[in-house]
Symmetry: C3
Subunit: 137 residues, 3 copies
Amino acid sequence: MDETISLVLFSGTDDKLGAAAVLAAGAAAMGKPVRIFLQYWALDAFRADRIAANHGLAPEAAQAGKAAMAAAAAAGQSHWTETLRAAKELGEVDIQACSLSMDILKLEQSDLDPLVDGVEGVAAFYINAGTGQIVFI
Amino acid sequence: MDETISLVLFSGTDDKLGAAAVLAAGAAAMGKPVRIFLQYWALDAFRADRIAANHGLAPEAAQAGKAAMAAAAAAGQSHWTETLRAAKELGEVDIQACSLSMDILKLEQSDLDPLVDGVEGVAAFYINAGTGQIVFI
Amino acid sequence: MDETISLVLFSGTDDKLGAAAVLAAGAAAMGKPVRIFLQYWALDAFRADRIAANHGLAPEAAQAGKAAMAAAAAAGQSHWTETLRAAKELGEVDIQACSLSMDILKLEQSDLDPLVDGVEGVAAFYINAGTGQIVFI
């Protein structure tokens, strides 16, 4: 159970990021090293000036889904950023921004929330992923 | 070829569920054990009172995509629920609801279609996935 | 690092295809064989008569995302088709259309761009994927 799991995050909506955070925390709690690679809109969601903002939901969520998510948050469901912070305390969770997406979105590492540990290219991503599981979210 | 493949289903649109059902059935037919873990809108799509409803398509499908899908259904293309039922007869296919998503959507197992075999947390999901492939759909 | 990575492409928006192309090229550059399996809207995006068209972005991209992508293209960022062509020159990259999606969209192989190497069913996909990583995009 100690092989690395690599999560490539592409989407920046709060439901997808919530699903990703739970998968990361679960793996960390079980002793699996977790590598998170942030691309496109997921990277955008980790900008320091908007990480706590409302990032919306997948279009299919519709009104009933929005109401369920809002009710869960009001009832004390952790925000995905809190889940990721807890995952980092529980185990080995490394969060890297994709250098190509940084270029496209014209970001510097100083623009990102401190949850992000660094910036790397796709070659470094594969080296760290090794033969472990790769999940695109 | 007999290592488990785990499909984490997040999206509840009929096109994504169709793609997932085909991947599940193909794996089952080849003797691979299949584990399906239902989160968020995919879980919502398995509610007994709406599993047979129209769940829409990904937004990018547009008019031409909708017409193609409707024509395929009219020409006898199996619904994804039928493909999953056939997959369960062909091989080892276990479908579990994510307990956290059950809480968010305020569902009980009795609200779900009998295709769903049970409810489990993310730790159980990882134990069953082992070192096999994990695919997020 | 020489185990196959299989990318199942479902989405046909330019941002998702861009992410997929970068993951394919990175793997190819590192000597990993890459298998790409085209389903639904990703397959539609490889039609010879529209592969070079604007395929839009994920709905969450919003105006700021659209502007960033347009600026990156104007600044010389490669189109995903060019990235895939380069990946094919760099390493072993095989692109197959899913036969079931071909039926749904009523396509023949002659309708597809020459980047696509052939048409196969899900069983052939799994045989070629072996125990390597499977990523759904």
